[in-house]
Structures are given as C-alpha cells and as structure tokens.
Symmetry: C2
Subunit: 687 residues, 2 copies
C-alpha cells in the first residue's frame, strides 16, 4: 500500500469518538449555546439575503463577504452560477439578517457582539443588536456549510452566542521586522474568521520606527530603513479592521525599546548619541530621558498626532524592559533623581509614567502598559497587560487594575495549540473573587517579530491563534476537550487559508527554495522530514544562533510548521495504544496501525531525506536530525512490536533506546522531533 | 516501493542526455554566448560587491536585490550569517559591477541591455553600458548559483549577452477582472527574473475602467465597482517597473471595449444609454461616437492626463473588435458617414484613428494599436500589435509598420510551454527580407482576464511566460531543444516562486478549499488527480460554461496547472519507449519504468480520488474524468506490457481502447487528460 493510501485510510478511520453535535459541526470558536435540529437548509445559487430592518454600508459589506465565501461551495463547471450579490430589504429571504442598529461609531470595548442564529429547513435567521454582532453570526454561518456529492447545505440548528471576554486580541510586532500592509490585512481577515476583536499593533522598537509622523518626520526618515506605514495606510488598515469588527490599539513602547526614535531625535535620549538603528535583539540600554521638559513637549505633540490617527480609546505606551543603565550613566539624570527623591531607576520610571499619563488622558485615551508600568499610586484607569504571566495578572487584578493576559499566548514560544488553549485567563481554580475576576478584560496572542518576517509570519500565527481565540470566546466549561479542539482546528485551518492566509502553503514554498526543480516528487522527502519536525522556541534559537535583524529567515526552521499534525496525533495514538497494547479491539488495532504508519513512512523516506539534505549547506546541518529520525523510528517500531506481541526486547534494548532518545533531545539545526515525549512513554512501557 | 520513492528515483535517473554546458547551468533565457571555464568561485557570507565606476540608486537597489537572493543559499542554522549589504566603490571585490552610465532617464526601447559576465575562481566581473544591462547580468548571476553539501558556489564561466528582440512584453488585462497592486508587483519581479522589459497594462474594458482620472472621476466612480488603481498606485508601479528595467505601456482600448466608460460619461457613446458595467464577455456593441467634436475634446484631455501619468513614449489605444453595430444603428452617425464619404464602419474607424493619432502625438507618444488599426494611409509611426497571429504580422511588416507578435503567446489558450516556445516572431522559414524583419520589434505574452483573478493569475502566467521570454531574448539557433528548455524551466519555476509568485503554491491552496481538513494526506488523492489534468482553452470554457464576470473562479479547472509536468514528460517518455520498445538498453528500460510509474500511481490512487470527488458538488462533476483516468491507465499499462513482452493483446483490444480514448476527448468538467496524444501513439504501436 502506498504511503498516501495508507494515510488516507488513517484519516478516514482513526477519528476520535465523537458526540453527535461534534460530528455535525466544525464550529470554532464554539458558541455559548447550540442545539442541533432535524433537517437541512440547502445552499444553492438561489440563496437570497435580506436585511428587513436596519442596514448600513458596513453590514452590507460584511454580508457580501459571506456571500463570496458561500459561493465557493456552490461553484460547478456546468454553469456560470453565483449567488446574487443583491441584498434585499424584504421581510423574507433564505437568510434574514435582522439587526437593531449599527453599534458605536468607534467600536467600543463594550460593543455587543451577541447574536442568535436559527437555521430551519426553509430559512435562516440571524438576530443581533449591532452590526458587529451580526458579523460574528455571519462567520458562524460560514462555518456551518457542509457538502455531499450533489448538494451544499446547512444543518438545522439554533445558536445563542456571546463572548466570554471583551478583549480578544492579536498583537503583531511590526518593529523588529516590518510587516507590509497586505499581510496585516489578511491577518485581520483571519482574526475576524475566529471572532477576535482587538488588533494590538506594536509600531516602534529599537530596530525600527514604523509610522509616519508629519510632526516628526525624522522618526521614519532615519529610524525605519524606509520600511514604515504612511498615515494613509494606517487609516486604511484602521478602516479595514473596523469593517470587520476589530479595534486597533497602537503601541509606542517607551521609555525603553526606543533606540530607533533617537536616530532622528537624539535629544530625546538619555545617552550621548549619535544613535543608529539597532540590529541586535534583546534588552537595549537606550531609553528616553524622563528628566527634561522637552521630552514631554515632544511626547505631547507626538501622542496628540497619533491620537488623531488611531480612533480607539485605548493607547498602549509599552513600558517594558527599561533597564535603567543609561539613566544611571548620565550624571545629570542621577542628580535629577537625587533632587526629586527618586531612590532608584524604577522610581524614575514611575515619575516618567506619572508625567506620561496626563498626556495620554489629555487626548481622551485610556493608557495601557506592560507589567512594569504598575507601581503604587498608579491611577486605576490604566490597563495592565501582563507579559510576565498569570501571577502578574492576579497581582494587578487584586490591586483593582483591569488586566489583559499575554504570556501563555506568546506565539514565538512555539508551544502547541494544546498548551496555548489550556492556558486560561481565569483558571478554574482561580483564587480571585468574582469581583476581581471582572477586572480581567481578556487576553492577546502575541507575535513578536525577532524571528518572523512578511513571508513566515502567517505560519507562526495560524492556526494556533484560532485555538487561543476559542479560549477567549467560548464558555470555560465547553473548552476542555483537546482532541475535539484539534479536529475543529483542522477544518478551521482550511477556512483561514481561504481568506488569503499563507500558513499552510508556506511550508512547501519555503522547502522548494532549497531545491532546484519544481517536480512535486522532489519535494516529497523534505515534506516527509518536515512532518516530524517543529521549531525550537524563540529563546532557544536566539541563544543558539545569536540572531539579529539581518539573519536570513530562510533556514529549515523557518520553513517547518509550529505544532505540526504529528505532534498531537502521535501523542494521542500512543495514549490510545498504551491503554491496551495487546488487545484486539478496533481502537487499539487502529491506533497501533496508525502509529506504525507514521514511523514506517519516516523510516522508508529516510534514504531520500538524507540524500536531499546533502544538496545544500543550508539543509546539510539537519543531517544528524534526519539520522535520529530513522533510528528513533526503528526503535518505535521495535517497541510497538514488543508490546503488541508481548515479546521481550533483547537485553540492553531499553537502556540503549532511552540513551538514543536522550541524545536526540540535544540542540541540532534549530529543529526538534515532535514525538520525543510519547516515544519515551512507549519505550518505558516495554517491560 | 512507495510512490514518492519511485518518483524520486525517476527524477534522479531519467533526465535527458545532456551536453556538459547543460549539466552545468540552468540559465533561462539562454545567453547569446557562453563559455564554461575550469574551477569554482565560492559563495560565502564573505562575498563583497563593488561598483568601481558608475553607480546610482537604481543600480544599488538592483545589487541589493541580488544580494538578498544570494543570501538564501548561504543561510545556515549555525550563525546569524548574511552577506553584507554594503556596496563598496573599491577596485576589487568578489563581484565587480562595472557600469558605464545610468542609461536613459525614461527607459527607451533602444536601451542597451547587453552585458558581459566573467566568473573566475577568485572573482566575478560584470560589465555593462547601462544600469539596465547590469540588471540583466545580475539576474544571470543569480541563476548560476549551485550548491553541494557544504558549499554554495558559481562555476567559472564567461558570458557575452544581448537580447534578440527589443520589445519583450507581458500583457495583463486588469479590465475584465481587477488585478491588485501587490499582484502586479510580484509579476514585475517575475518579468525581471526572465529579462522581460515591457509591461503592457490593459486598463479599460467593457467590464471595468481601472485608472483614476482626476479630470473624469466618474470613469472609476461609476465604471469600476470600486476596483481601480489610484494615480499614486500607478506612479508606484511605474517606479517599481523602472527599478527593474521594465517599461510600462498603458492601453486604453477604443472605440470598442468601452462600455464601462459610458456608465459615467454616456455622451461619449454611440448608443442611447443609459449604460451599466458589462458582466458578460465577448464582443459588445457599445462604441465611442467618432462623429462628435466633443469626443475628441474628451480624449484630448484624458490622453493628456494619462500621458503625464505614464512616462513611456508608447501609448496603446487598442482598436480591436469594434463591430460597428451601434454606429449603424444611429441615424446621426449614418448620416455623418454618408456626408464624409465613409463607405462602411471600417472606414469610420479609420476616420476615428486619423483624429486620434494627432492627439496621441501631441503628447509626444507613439501610438500602438491592435491589428484593426491598420488601414491604407496610416502613418508609419504607428506600431501594430498582432493578435491575429503571424500572418497579420507579416502583412503589416511588409507594409513597413513596426510590429509586435502576440497571438501565439495567448496564455488563456492554455497551450503548453512547448507550443508557446516554438512559435517564433520571425520563423526560420520567413519570407520577409532582413530589412522587413527589422520592423519586428518583438512579442508579448498576453494574459486576458475573462477566466483569471488575483488568486489564479500567477499560475496562468508562470512558468509558461519564462519559456516565451527565452524565445524573445535568446538566439534563434540555440532555442530548438525543447527537452532542455523544460529542464531549465523546471529550475526557473523555483526561482520565480522565490520572488513571491504563487504559481506553484496555488494548486494546493485551491485544492484544499474543496476539503474540510488540512491533513496533508487528505490532499494527496486530489493532487494525484490534478497531475493528470490540464485546463481546457479559453474558448472551450467560454462556450461550455457561458462564463461571465461573476462566475466564481474556484472550480477544479481553476485549481489545476496549465501544462503540468506529466504533459511533456509522458510525451517524451513515450517517444523514448516507442523507438525501441523491446530492447533492453538502459534508456528504454528507464523510459518504460517511468511511464509505468505514472500510470500505476494514477491507477492506485483511483479509489481514493473517486471517493474524494464525491465529497462536494464542485468536485463531483469531475467523476467521469476520474473514471477515465483509471480506465486509460489500465489500457496504457496493457499496451506497455504487450509491446515490451511482444505479447499480442486480446482480440478487439485495440479497437476498444481507441474507442475509450475517443470518448475521453469529449468535454467534461472543463478539464482534460494530459496524455491523450502519447497514449494514442502507444495504443497504435501495439500490433
């Protein structure tokens, strides 16, 4: 049997046991309440849509996007068929979008996003108080399409839905590597597809200042390498996000992470200058001088200009990782600290924040900052974004500050969707009172950009961020089944590609760059190799490779997927198999066969993999990993054989196998094998 | 043996016989003169580049793009290595870019594009008279990188290169479907990678007017569905093209193909109006009224505005497919024709052109038009673009007009690269005198957009346009080996993907949309099916599907590749096999094995293919083709067996097989099997 046939069979037969509701839908995020009804509503080109009460341009545009999406299920080669793009205002249609009103002109943190969606065999009705609520319901409708050989249809269903958290964000660092407008836009489409509602746009860093300022043109003229957003582009993106029910919160990180500002405006800095754009990563000493009035005059003008460009009432000032070294090295600043009774540089940062806050408030913005802005006496109006994790969030919340959780959702950590998913802003065993819990606004997935660029970023954000989005949207009680989350994520990943994201196509594109032929068969060994690999974390790569802004991001590690399917699947199958290795029940037999298929495929492809790796120095570094893949696949097959036939392995096998496994944990080529943990369990299970 | 292993083996062993020069390089287009020398120049991060004489911003930017490209071969996981982006002005460096001067400020049709490139084991030197010539040489340098397990290097070589034709274009129709800025830009990068130098931008159609006019804002306000280029975007694209040594020739098609103009400006039309944007395709009756002075006043102002926006000295006025019906239906126009002694509507179009030409010339532009603008008395300054093919080109050239050949290069015809490649603007058996031949400026690949959109267009343009680009650049005598062209095209296709084109990744993206899982194995049967399919031609699809502007372009036919590898490979292998089917020489055995691998893979995947097709109505229409694939694969294997073992087939086998083949030629699902012709030969060869 060929590899593809075997794996197809596997796909078709080894799905986890499912409840009827799970079999019927692949909704992600799961709605708050869902009831499946009998029957189906056909989806054909005769589909019509009407807004019987309120409609506006934003609602109509959202409906048109949904019709465009539905069209991909009704296209056939027989006719030039498409669903009509006319939006009726009649009281009946296949889909009634019944909206009370537009919501707020600047989308508020308290904007209603609730909706109810009822599909019967004759019609669908979507009720929502606001246009944003209707958008959430339309996204749900798109996810409900199913097809068989002759029809596309919706299963009859009743959904009442509302988000668990008000602030469900994706943070993109456009400072360390610039991320172009079209990449931002398709990520906004991805966010809308999973009901995220805050785009946190990190716009300045030591490595680059990314927004045009008319008042201070040298910020980008000298601090951006020519890579920045014009104000028109910013307005375009803010409008694009608003059209999708997404708020845009800008961040200008200060007083640290500001070296790129100082290239054009050295007087802002605490050190002597001159400054150049920083190319290294990690904490830099450069910091804004908090002791001069001219600093606050600059910031007042700058924040005023940006406040006009970004309509959202929240304004992020960063505040993280300012190490105080430049402050301590400047005698004038040291004198200032003494004369103002500021005992250390932390106290000086508090002083800075105390002068910054009224500027932000003057422009009618709420200030948001990372953990470090928290200090005694900080007004309760400031929102604390926790990058230090849940403990920091609990601390600020207990003190009465509103908080946003980030750290468990750092996408550059290359954790699995499972790990991201199971981290809850308010864990089930929280010690916070309900009143304190109410201060937790939600969370954000964070895409820091040391190791991503325009080409790779989609594959680092998606589909993992969809799992995080479900954590933020869906009821805590219904988000415990990791296997089912992966099943739905698998379907959602396809839908995310359909909005234009490149997270799935990227791997083949990146792997083909190592080849000198577009023959699909030449790619096969690399694809098979990649299926067993995952990138190491940001920190590991940073330490091992000493990356900087010029490091080409086109190594093998940049090509492969974080959390590839093999990672969860082998863990799940090994768990299933080990519950009864010698039993002949269908679950056990299928789990064993599926595991063997993985390891046999890797073993069979091994000569071709190793031969391909020797064709370029960029690949050659991964040769030890390829050899480990072959050896460990053999060990896995030996373990499965031993367990399933109750045949003891040769003397010393276990010890030697565990030693081989241990060796494979060592750093190599910035990539690691996905199945180390379940294979350890498997070997340990052998008597 | 698994499918992937078998096919890998095939890739490695069944390459065509090669001359040493072909083994060494994958240059495309082939240079005019090439000498391979002994030794290699290593490519490491120590690579330096210098411009010892002239340099300017355009040259430096071109060099930086090349360094960026070279970096993908030196990236390793061990260090943050990158080639320095500093461009020296020293007299020595790994690469000297020795350029005489910048060339013309507006790139001319006579711009020198010649260069010489010499690579020795110690250094590379590129000489060119102009920055554009240097760009062509830098592209060549990028194509010369090779790698082994530990090194990247250039083989020592001496190249003297110059283009055969001055006008080497790609025409993109942005009228029938709008093509966004970023898609245009990556296609300009693709053009530069294969040394094309004219982007012919088709900007107005019955289905949409695509450029902002400040003087006539209703052209886009009412005639574009909101899908148009702003003037800033046009300037951006013109600059992007200039930076890559590409001229931009705009086309505003008139007097026909103008319905979209009339939505906002009905007074321009010959019919009574009101007008709406046309959604159907094919020739429309709407035409500009050539009898009123107000028409020419409008065109004078409009062309004046556009002449300022597009700096190129050539301006394309279309002129094709005006059927005269609206003219004949308008009594006022009929009267005008009589009073001006214009005997028919052709004569009226001549009149129109005679009044249009001085307007175009007033703005210092040469007029370009399609075949129909040619008429007695037309000034010799007008360039004729032939869409009616070589005979029309010969006719206009004989009359002394400069000409550009297009028809054999219509990409929507879905012809193979081979067919496109073998069509020569001046065939070897031409009857034109050398003086007449000199009037032939070159040719253009034409991407008409009835059946392409932003998602699919790359895959319809590339890699076939690279083969056409070689036809236009390389000496006629060195462009006869089709097998070798395919070998180099295969490598070039990868390089085109590296500049950002999506022609290779598109198929998997489009096929995954039919699925509900991103599991790579679920895609495998569809990919195997797609490898045996090619799209039918524009005309066939238009007639069978009755497409219009709203037809969703996401059917199976839109996913599959024009001219997929199986098309040429099976033809080549069948030819090899049939020359000596019973011999046991290595060529014959390998050809037979490779053929069997194709047909066995299709047969083996057949149940999975058919099962996948039944999961959606969009795919289900292709079920008959899938059944034919299985049946014909069986027939092919039977024929190979019969021929190679000299075993006669059962009685009636041949007749029945040919009948099955005949049935498979009938239209079905807008796709056809790639191997019909060689399989016919194979069956006919069976005694």
């Amino acid at each position: 049997m060929t590899l593809s046939k075997t794996l197809l069979l596997l796909t078709m037969t080894i799905l986890p046991l499912q409840t009827p509701a799970q079999i019927q839908t692949t909704l992600l995020p799961l709605p708050a309440k869902l009831t499946l009804d009998a029957g189906q509503l056909p989806l054909t080109t005769a589909f019509t849509v009407a807004t019987p009460h309120f409609h506006d341009a934003r609602l109509n545009a959202a409906i048109l996007r949904t019709l465009h999406d539905l069209n991909r299920h009704v296209a056939t080669p027989d006719a030039p068929t498409a669903i009509s793009t006319e939006i009726l205002t009649t009281p009946t249609a296949t889909l009634l979008v019944d909206v009370t009103g537009p919501g707020q002109p600047i989308q508020s943190i308290d904007e209603s996003e609730s909706y109810t969606l009822t599909i019967t065999p004759t019609a669908a009705t979507l009720h929502a108080a606001t246009t944003v609520g209707a958008m959430r319901g339309l996204t749900t409708l798109e996810q409900l399409v199913q097809t068989d050989s002759t029809h596309a249809f919706f299963t009859a269903i009743h959904i009442e839905d509302t988000p668990r958290f008000r602030w469900r964000g994706l943070h993109i660092d456009a400072g360390r590597h610039f991320i172009p407008v079209e990449v931002i836009k398709r990520n906004l489409d991805g966010m809308a597809a999973v009901k995220l509602n805050v785009f946190h746009w990190h716009l300045s860093e030591d490595q680059g200042f990314r927004v045009e300022s008319k008042l201070f043109p040298r910020l980008t003229a000298l601090g951006s390498d020519g890579l920045f957003y014009t104000q028109n582009q910013v307005r375009d993106i803010v409008a694009y996000a608003y059209a999708r029910g997404i708020r845009v919160v800008p961040e200008f990180d200060m007083p640290g992470h500001t070296r790129a500002w100082f290239v054009g405006y050295p007087d802002l800095a605490s050190g002597p200058g001159p400054y150049t754009i920083r190319r290294e990563f990690g904490i830099d000493d450069a910091a804004i001088d908090p002791t001069r009035d001219s600093t606050y005059k600059f910031l007042d003008a700058f924040i005023g200009e940006m406040a006009g460009l970004f309509p959202d009432p929240y304004f992020h000032v960063g505040g993280d990782e300012s190490n105080g070294k430049q402050w301590k090295a400047n005698p004038r600043i040291v004198t200032f600290m003494r004369s103002h009774n500021l005992k250390d540089t932390d106290a000086l940062q508090v002083y800075f924040n105390q002068r910054l806050l009224p500027i932000v408030q003057k422009y009618k913005k709420h200030m948001v900052g990372w953990d470090e802005v928290l200090h005694p006496g900080l007004p309760k109006d400031v929102v604390i974004q926790s990058w230090r994790g849940t403990r920091a969030l609990v601390e600020s919340t207990t003190l009465g500050y509103q908080g946003i959780l980030s750290q468990p959702y750092y996408l550059d950590g290359m954790k699995s969707s499972k790990e991201n998913y199971l981290a809850d802003p308010i864990p089930i065993d929280t010690t916070l009172t309900p009143a304190q819990q109410a201060f937790i606004l939600g969370g954000e997935a964070c895409m820091w950009a040391e190791h991503v660029n325009a080409i790779t970023i989609d594959s680092r954000i998606w589909p993992r961020t969809a799992a995080i989005a479900e954590r933020f949207w869906s009821p805590q009680a219904s988000t415990t089944d990791v296997d089912d989350m992966y099943r739905r994520l698998d379907a959602q990943s396809i839908r995310l590609e359909a909005v234009g994201l490149t997270h799935l196509s990227h791997e083949a594109v990146a792997l083909r760059r190592f080849l000198s032929t577009d023959n699909p068969q030449a790619l096969a060994p690399l694809t098979t190799f990649a299926s067993a690999l995952e990138p190491i974390s940001f920190g590991e790569r940073y330490r091992q490779q000493h990356t900087n802004q010029f490091t080409p991001l086109n190594s093998l590690v940049d090509a492969i997927r974080p959390d590839p399917p093999s990672r969860h699947e082998i863990a799940r199958l090994t768990r299933l198999f080990l519950t009864a290795p010698t039993l002949n029940g269908p679950d056990s037999i299928q789990a064993r066969a599926a595991l063997e298929t993985y390891y046999k495929a890797w073993l069979a492809a091994s000569p071709a993999i190793q031969s391909t790796l020797t064709t370029s120095p960029a690949l050659n570094a991964a040769l030890p990993r390829a050899r480990q893949l072959a050896t460990l696949s053999t060990i896995a097959l030996e373990a499965i054989h031993s367990l399933s036939t109750s045949t003891p392995p040769p003397t010393g096998w276990k010890q030697q196998s565990l030693a081989t496994l241990e060796a494979a944990k060592k750093p190599s080529a910035l990539v690691r094998l996905t199945f180390i943990a379940p294979l350890t369990d498997l070997i340990n299970a052998v008597p």
